[in-house]
C-alpha cells in the first residue's frame, strides 16, 4: 500500500500530468489528471494519507481538471472538469481547480453509483455507530461535522451518506472536508493547531471555500462500515441554545427522502432501505449556535441513548 505522501518528489505531478494519479477513497478509485498547479499542490496538501494505486488495476472514474486551450489559457483562464473524456459542466475561473475537483468527484458518485443509496448528509461514527446528519447547504452541517471530528468522532464523509441497500451499513468516503465563509474561522478558533487548511479559494459560487485533510485515522479505517445509530437534522441559528429534540420516524423518513440523490432510482428497495435506517436510529432535530455546547449534547446522546434495535 502506497501513500500519496510517500511518492518520490516530482512523482505526484508526473502522474497527474501523464497517465493519471490513481487515488483511492473508500470503495472507489479515481484516476485524476491535471496540469493545474493549484490542483497538484492541493492534492499534496490534502490527500497525503490516502492510498495511491499502481496502474494495472481498475479505476472507477477518469476525471480531469484542465485549462481551456487557445487564448483563454492566458486571458482570464478557465478550467474544465472532464469525466470519461467529456466536459459536462460550464467552466470555472482559473483559481477554482480544487473546489471544482471536489464537486466533480461528488457528481461522479451521485450520478453513477446507484449500487448505493446516496443522501446529502454528513456522516460520523462514535462507539461503533453512525451518526447521519442530512441537511441542505447553509444549515451548519459541515461546521458541526468538522467540530465533531476534532472531538473524537470518526469522519465517514462531510457531504455524502452512502448506504449499502442490502445491509443498511454506511460506507466511509474519507475526503478533504470543505468549509465555507465564516465557518473557516470558526473551526480555526475551535480546533486551533489541530486543523491545517489548504489554500483558501475566494469568490466561488458558494463564496470563500477552504479545505482541510480528513484525519489519518478516518482514512485508515475506510473499510469499517458501521450500522446507523442516530439521525440528526442540524440547524445553525444565531443566539439559540443547543437543543436536541425527538423527531418522529415518519417525519425523519420524509426529510431523508428530501435529501436523497437517487431515492427514486432504487424504487421499493430505496423505500425499504430508508425505513430500516429510521427504524435503526434515534431521530432528532438539533438547533445550535455554540459548538462547545453542541459537542457536549452529542457526547451525552452517544452515551445514553442506546440506538433503537438493529435491523
Amino acid at each position: 500500500m502506497l501513500k500519496l505522501a510517500s511518492l518520490p518528489s516530482g512523482e505526484l505531478a508526473r502522474r497527474l500530468r501523464g497517465p493519471g494519479l490513481r487515488l483511492r477513497t473508500g470503495p472507489l478509485v479515481f484516476c485524476i489528471r491535471s496540469r493545474v498547479p493549484e490542483v497538484i499542490d492541493g492534492l499534496a496538501a490534502l490527500y497525503g494519507a490516502h492510498e495511491v494505486e499502481q496502474p494495472g488495476g481498475f479505476a472507477d472514474f477518469h476525471v480531469s481538471i484542465n485549462r481551456a486551450l487557445g487564448l483563454r489559457r492566458w486571458w482570464r483562464p478557465k478550467l474544465f472538469f472532464g469525466i470519461d473524456g467529456d466536459s459536462p459542466f460550464a467552466p470555472l475561473p482559473g483559481n477554482q481547480g480544487l473546489p471544482m475537483l471536489e464537486w466533480g468527484l461528488n457528481w461522479c458518485i451521485t450520478a453513477n453509483c446507484h449500487q448505493y443509496l446516496i443522501l446529502h448528509a454528513a456522516v460520523l461514527e462514535r462507539h461503533g455507530r453512525a451518526l447521519v446528519m442530512p441537511a441542505p447547504s447553509g444549515s451548519g452541517k459541515s461546521t458541526l461535522c468538522a467540530a465533531l471530528l476534532f472531538r473524537g468522532w470518526r469522519l465517514l464523509s462531510d457531504e455524502l451518506a452512502i448506504i449499502e441497500p442490502a445491509t443498511g451499513r454506511l460506507v466511509p468516503l474519507p475526503r478533504a472536508v470543505s468549509l465555507k465563509n465564516a465557518s473557516i474561522e470558526v473551526i480555526q478558533r475551535f480546533a486551533g493547531d489541530a486543523v491545517r487548511f489548504g489554500s483558501i479559494v475566494h469568490d466561488t459560487i458558494k463564496g470563500r471555500v477552504g479545505h482541510f485533510p480528513a484525519p489519518v485515522d478516518a482514512v485508515h479505517r475506510a473499510d469499517e462500515r458501521p450500522f446507523p445509530g442516530w439521525i440528526v437534522f442540524p440547524r445553525f441559528e444565531i443566539g439559540v441554545p443547543a437543543t436536541l429534540e425527538p423527531l418522529s420516524r415518519g417525519h425523519a423518513l420524509m426529510r431523508l427522502i428530501e435529501n436523497a440523490f437517487n431515492y427514486n432510482v432504487h424504487r421499493l428497495a430505496g423505500f425499504e432501505a430508508l425505513t430500516h435506517l429510521v427504524q435503526a436510529s434515534a431521530c432528532r432535530t438539533f438547533h445550535y449556535s455554540d459548538l462547545d455546547s453542541a459537542i457536549t449534547l452529542f457526547e451525552q446522546m452517544a452515551h445514553d441513548a442506546t440506538p433503537a434495535t438493529t435491523m
Partner: protein
C-alpha cells in the same frame, strides 16, 4: 509528453457491444476502459442487460460489475417510469379522437422489443396527426404538461418549421414529452407523408385503444432517419445499437427486407435506409442480405459517398477522446452543419443560425453560467 497505448485508443464500447460473450474474460485494466467508454457512449446499461440475459453478469470482476449493476438499477427505474408515463399519456389522450403513436425508446419498452434492453431515456416522444395537434396539446396542458421554450422566436421555430411542438414538461413529475406530427421537419425537401406512418401503426394491446407503435419497417426507418438527420450525435453509437437489435429481431420474418426497401421508396427515405444499413453492419456487424447490400452500395457511390462514410466513421464511434480517430472534431462540425443544411432551405438556415448565435451571445451577458455540478 504522455502518449496513450494502442489498447487505450480502441473503441471498446463498440467492440463490447459486438462481443458480449467475451466480456467476462476481460482483465481489470481492460474493464476500466470498457466501463469508461460505455458510460460515455450511453451503452453501459445495455451491456449490463445483455450480460444479465446471457447469465454472465456474475462472472464479471467485482469492481466493474458494481458499475454494471448500478446502470441496470437506473435502467429498471427508467423503464418503470416510461411505462407509467405512457399509461398517463394514453389516459389523457383517450378522447382526442386520434391515434397516438409512441416513438423510439418508449415504443421499444411498450412493445417489449430487444432494443428496450438497457435503453436509457431523457424524454418520451409521440406522433399524432397534424390536424389533431391543437386538441392533443390542450388535453396535455389540462393534465399538467406545460410548454417550454416560451420566447417568441423559439415558438415560431417549432410551430412553423419543425415537425414537433416545443418540448412539454409535466409540472409535478418533471418528465419531458415531445409531441411530433411528422418524423422530419416540414422544411426538408421531401418530407415523408406522416399519414402513411400513422395509418400503418400497430396497436399496443397493453394500453387498450390508447397507444400505438410504428410498424416494424417504419420503426426502423424512423430510427435511421433520426440519426441521419440529427445535429446532436452524442448518443450515436447507442442509436446504431438500437438499429442493430431491431434489424436482427425483425429480419427473422422473411418478408422484412423486401418490405423495408419498398416502404423506404414510398416514404422517400431511401438515403436514410442506405445509411442505416451501412452503419449497423459497419459498426456492429449486423447481418444484411446480399441483395440489400448491393442495392445500398449502388445508391451510395462516388466521391461524395466516400467523404460521407469518412465523416460518419469518425462520429458514430464512442465519443470518448481516447477512442477518437484523427479528424473527429472536424467531422463532427461538418455533420452538424449538414444536419442543419438538410433541415431548412439555405436562406431560412442562414437566418436561423444568425438568430441563434445572437441569442446565445445576448443570453451569456445576461446570466453568467454557474458551472457548478449539482
Amino acid at each position: 509528453m504522455y502518449t496513450k497505448t494502442s489498447e487505450q485508443r480502441r473503441d471498446w464500447a463498440c467492440w463490447a457491444l459486438q462481443h458480449v460473450e467475451l466480456l467476462p474474460g476481460l482483465s481489470a485494466p481492460q474493464w476500466e476502459l470498457v466501463i469508461s467508454q460505455a458510460r460515455r457512449a450511453d451503452v453501459l446499461a445495455r451491456l449490463a442487460a445483455r450480460l444479465q440475459t446471457s447469465g454472465q453478469l456474475d462472472s464479471v470482476l467485482a469492481a466493474p460489475r458494481s458499475h454494471l449493476r448500478a446502470a441496470m438499477t437506473l435502467w429498471r427505474a427508467q423503464q418503470d417510469d416510461v411505462r407509467a408515463e405512457a399509461a398517463q399519456i394514453a389516459a389523457v389522450l383517450r378522447d382526442s379522437g386520434c391515434r397516438v403513436v409512441l416513438l423510439k425508446g418508449a415504443a421499444y419498452v411498450a412493445g417489449d422489443l430487444p432494443a428496450a434492453q438497457g435503453r436509457l431515456f431523457s424524454d418520451i416522444d409521440i406522433l399524432v396527426p397534424r390536424a389533431a395537434l391543437r386538441q392533443v396539446e390542450s388535453n396535455l396542458m389540462l393534465a399538467g404538461w406545460m410548454g417550454t421554450h416560451l420566447d417568441d422566436y423559439d415558438q415560431r421555430y417549432y410551430r412553423e418549421w419543425m415537425h414537433e411542438l416545443p418540448p412539454m414538461q409535466h409540472l409535478r413529475r418533471g418528465t419531458t414529452l415531445d409531441v411530433h406530427h411528422n418524423i422530419l421537419p416540414i422544411t426538408v425537401r421531401q418530407p415523408p407523408d406522416a399519414a402513411l406512418l400513422i395509418a400503418n401503426a400497430h396497436r399496443l394491446p397493453a394500453y387498450g385503444d390508447g397507444l400505438w407503435t410504428l410498424a416494424p419497417c417504419d420503426m426502423l426507418l424512423h430510427s435511421m432517419t433520426h440519426l441521419f438527420h440529427n445535429d446532436d450525435l452524442s448518443h450515436a453509437l447507442r442509436d446504431v445499437s438500437d438499429m442493430d437489435l431491431l434489424l436482427r429481431h425483425f429480419s427473422t420474418d422473411p418478408n422484412f427486407w423486401p418490405e423495408l426497401m419498398q416502404r423506404a421508396r414510398l416514404l422517400h427515405l431511401q438515403r436514410p435506409l442506405a445509411f442505416g444499413v451501412w452503419a449497423a453492419s459497419e459498426f456492429l456487424g449486423t447481418p444484411v442480405p446480399d441483395e440489400v447490400r448491393l442495392a445500398v452500395d449502388r445508391a451510395e457511390v462516388g466521391w461524395s459517398a466516400a467523404i460521407m462514410r469518412w465523416l460518419w466513421r469518425r462520429v458514430l464511434r464512442t465519443p470518448h477522446v481516447d477512442a477518437a480517430l484523427p479528424g473527429a472534431s472536424v467531422a463532427q462540425f461538418v455533420l452538424y452543419l449538414r444536419a442543419h443544411w438538410l433541415r431548412m432551405p439555405p436562406m431560412l438556415l442562414i437566418r436561423h443560425l444568425t438568430i441563434k448565435a445572437w441569442k446565445r451571445i445576448f443570453a451569456k451577458s445576461e446570466s453568467p453560467s454557474t458551472g457548478q455540478p449539482a
